[in-house]
Symmetry: D2
Subunit: 328 residues, 4 copies
């Protein structure tokens, strides 16, 4: 097993970062201009991951800041009902809003997101609002890269990582790169690298690793060579329909093929991948199996309308792994 | 007639200010937390007024800035289709978003709006983007108070007013006070007063006049006494179900009663009032009649789901004036 | 007499705007890089004007905000000792600093100023900190254009003007254009015009009038034509060694020649001009005489090391007017 | 020897951070309000350290950003003349100013500094402006804590550290805590800790270590216990007249007493300490000797008027070590 977790903990995963609102087109296969009705869902990568984890049976928690309004209350309540421990979610008391994502689905190949991320509450979580006691009761701290985009959320993440390191909590860094808020590519590279150095597990797409390395087109070999000089034990690099690769510090490399599916939209693939992959790791499955869990979970979510509500059960994942067809 | 317009102009009204998106609850009579589906409409007070004016047969135009994204393009296209001249609408090329208003309708008495106004495109219209040539071809410039809330939109309004004054375009100031963006009550009072001094017609609720005067509870008599020292010729102060009062510079006072109606929500009342009142003035009806037009139009819109699409035709207004019942 | 003042007032002039620190090169006639020692003086156009006025025997006061530190305390104490009523000066309690001006005197023709104006205290005077009672006890409110460069100082000025207009206090607008802080030429033009419209007397250089009109090179005729449509009664436009022109609303034009002098540096000329010109007006001298007072005072200050301490007495001015040689 | 440097490098120390202007009271032993004349010097902790190092015979360089004005040009030229390689100093092309420090010397016990640090050029050094090639030619990168106070300077420092770590350049972290610019104590603690973790040598006062640990009053034992879990090899904690302590990773502790001196002011003590201490380390003297060098150098500078120009020669230091008296 690539990673050993401290099983003596009540929580499996606690995530830190954004919990937002998705406004998904009710009428899709058309430009957003022509979509007149929207359905709301909870969104945001780390929120989706813990919701997905809870659906798979994990005990999950969330550290973040939401708006002190109807949207923020909805987010917190939805996550609570989904089984996530939301006692570490705080409300913003300076009138900041929760982030929004309007999704546009023109076709499976043409999807885009119209983001409202201006001064959103999640980026104003402060280090003071991160409680080390919340972190030391979990096996794994999941850090979302977007939470690094701005102060004070950035320092809140650093404090959480410090607490994790002090209490033997494994740190998983989901790169989750979003071009909003960041001031420059260099800034992104500096902070992504800072966190990746301290993480035990790093997960991202090839494009996200390029962002972290501030290169046009990097190679997996170079990426893992750089990171294994620091703390990481396990590195997962995703290549879309070409599947994903997992690199262990001991030199072992694994490849997981991508499952074929009827794609409705591409949103939510990364979040569902992460939740199932981490679930498998926590269940002490092999890295190989974990890659299949991740791939199957992603394939299921891209065929459905939402990102959070569509998170699969383990039965659905096992069913697809058993009977699904893979690319290549 | 209280105001003489320069009839030698191709446009009746050009408005300056915000054009945004309303996201109205499809399921209403419940808290916003429980509303899962939203329908989008064009919104924003000055946009609603020119859409309403166009529906009544006026030739209207709009000066403003919208997002260079799907929402901004929808707004511009919707307004064009509604008959508004949108050639003076510019797109924001720095990634700013169009404002949003989520409406919550718990009951006719409990309505609220959840606003997204953080760094919105409309507040970034610059004075350079206001073209005096657009203004000199109209009878009336309608200024929305919210456009004064921040630079550079504030200076854009001042430039528009200077152009109007140089070309004998009457200036109508719709107070349209919204508590967002303003830094202090004193700031609001200073800029509202600056514009009111230069306006020919000033329209607002009693509460909005209080804001302009920075008082807890002012009187109509004091409000008109102060403003008639400057440019205003006609001042309209609205008192909800107690109807509205129009004050002419020559001392004449008119009272228009409010029409009874089955209220669904209170949004949009002011915009529909203004469009019908100004329509009547431009049609050279008496101030008395204009008050009735405004009141009837408001009564119709509050009984319907949207603010912009629900704008009445003149037939509907005349029908209500003929058969409607009034308060008090 | 061009302007009639309300003589029933204890103060002659109250100025609103900045009071700062000048750091003048002790060793001059060299680049600032090579100047190693600096002597501090109070500076800032409106501060200099009231200090100069006090030296001429006027009763003057000052409304402004200074740093709550040693520099701010020095400024207030210096002005008090110079005879200025400083009871309306407030201290900034948010740690903002007083502005600084390092002067470089390479030669009489090559002078420059290195300004520290980043978030300076004077630009944070608020409308709430302007007391109408301070204004109604004076004959004249002197507004410095630089105070319009940013909120909340800008609104503080508007409030002061409103108070002046309500209590028959004449408003003198000294354009005092400084390129710092302003975001665009259009913004400058908009606010300069707003204030000039409401002023009784407008004083500036030809270049400053160009800034107000947002033109490359305007003419005095056009400038006065525009402004006489509004409140101004008297307009003074300065043309350096070609002297200054005063335009009265009744069409009378006066020309005052510039006095020859041994120029040390050009700083402070405008401030000393304004203080002596306004002194003469308040003494009910003719506009013609006032132009000579202004010109003589300016000639004296440019021959000396500082701007504030070098302000002349009436004897010095009269002596130069009697025996001085003029340009052209 | 506690630290082994890569002697195969043309430079001994390259510092990153601020280079500013000190404006020292010519007339002292009085409140700053009463000081009328100021003499300018180059200032800023890392600038002082490399100037001091150069005076001791080290080859030093500087990475930083200064104003593109007379002050910035003076700073660069002064440092060049002092023997510092200034080829990595860049000029700010957005009009930002160089920082200023007015010193007030009421008595040796009552000194204070009035800082102008608002949007100063040095805090706008970007990661792109830090050249790894400049860093790989030196033995030691000196990082000043104040450079962490704000983006983008903060990321520039992180990039410099990454380059140092990639090229076997020892990192010395001089805590140099200044309360300006930092938004909160937690923010300071987070970034100080980030850098201290990666440094080889950490130097600061007891109060500065408290800031890094975000505690009221910490102990040296706890401070070194925490840091020796990471990269540091040598930690120096200064206790004023009680002298300084050096902790080696192997458990050795050294104490250096403070020298008695006729104190004029307390400024510059830390910078002169650091330059002499690092000089001794680079000369392969013992840690014990290095503590004496640091202490003697500090004692000399506090007896003189400036911080940069007063930096001692090695002869002066040796003389004091030979004949000076120590506290306690």
């Amino acid at each position: 097993m690539a990673i050993t977790f401290n099983n003596d903990r009540p929580l499996d995963i606690i995530a830190i970062g954004r919990a937002c609102l998705d406004l998904n087109a009710v009428e899709y296969n058309r430009p957003l201009e022509e979509t007149m009705t929207f359905r709301k869902y909870v969104g945001g990568s780390p929120a989706n991951i813990v919701i997905g984890g809870a659906k798979l049976g994990l005990k999950t928690g969330f550290i973040g800041k939401v708006s002190a309004d109807q949207h923020g209350r909805f987010i917190r309540e939805y996550m609570t009902n989904a089984g996530v421990d939301t006692s570490s979610i705080v409300f913003d008391n300076e009138g900041r809003k929760s982030g929004l994502a309007f999704t546009e689905i023109i076709s499976p190949e043409e999807c885009s997101i119209l983001m409202y991320r201006e001064n959103v509450a999640d980026l104003y979580l402060t280090a003071d609002e991160v409680n080390a006691d919340d972190i030391k009761q979990t096996k794994m701290l999941l850090v979302s890269g977007t939470a690094l985009a701005q102060s004070p959320s950035r320092e809140a993440v650093f404090k959480a990582i410090q607490a994790a390191s002090a209490h033997d909590v494994k740190v998983v860094f989901e790169l989750d790169y979003r071009p909003y808020t960041w001031k420059s590519d260099m800034e992104t590279a500096v902070y992504y690298h800072q966190v990746a150095e301290k993480a035990d597990v790093v997960i991202g797409t090839r494009e996200e690793f390029n962002k972290m390395e501030n290169v046009e087109e990097g190679t997996n070999e170079e990426s893992v060579r750089r990171l294994f000089r620091y703390s990481p034990q396990l590195i997962v690099i995703k290549h879309g329909v070409d599947g994903s690769y997992a690199y262990e510090r001991n030199g072992t490399v694994h490849h997981g093929k991508a499952y074929k599916t009827k794609v409705l939209k591409t949103f939510g693939a990364g979040d569902s991948y992460a939740s199932a992959f981490l679930y498998a790791l926590l269940q002490e499955k092999t890295v190989e199996q974990a890659l299949h869990y991740g791939g199957a979970s992603a394939a299921i979510v891209v065929s459905k309308h939402s990102s959070s509500e569509a998170m699969p059960t383990e039965e659905e994942i096992i069913e697809l792994m058993a009977n699904g067809e893979t690319h290549g």
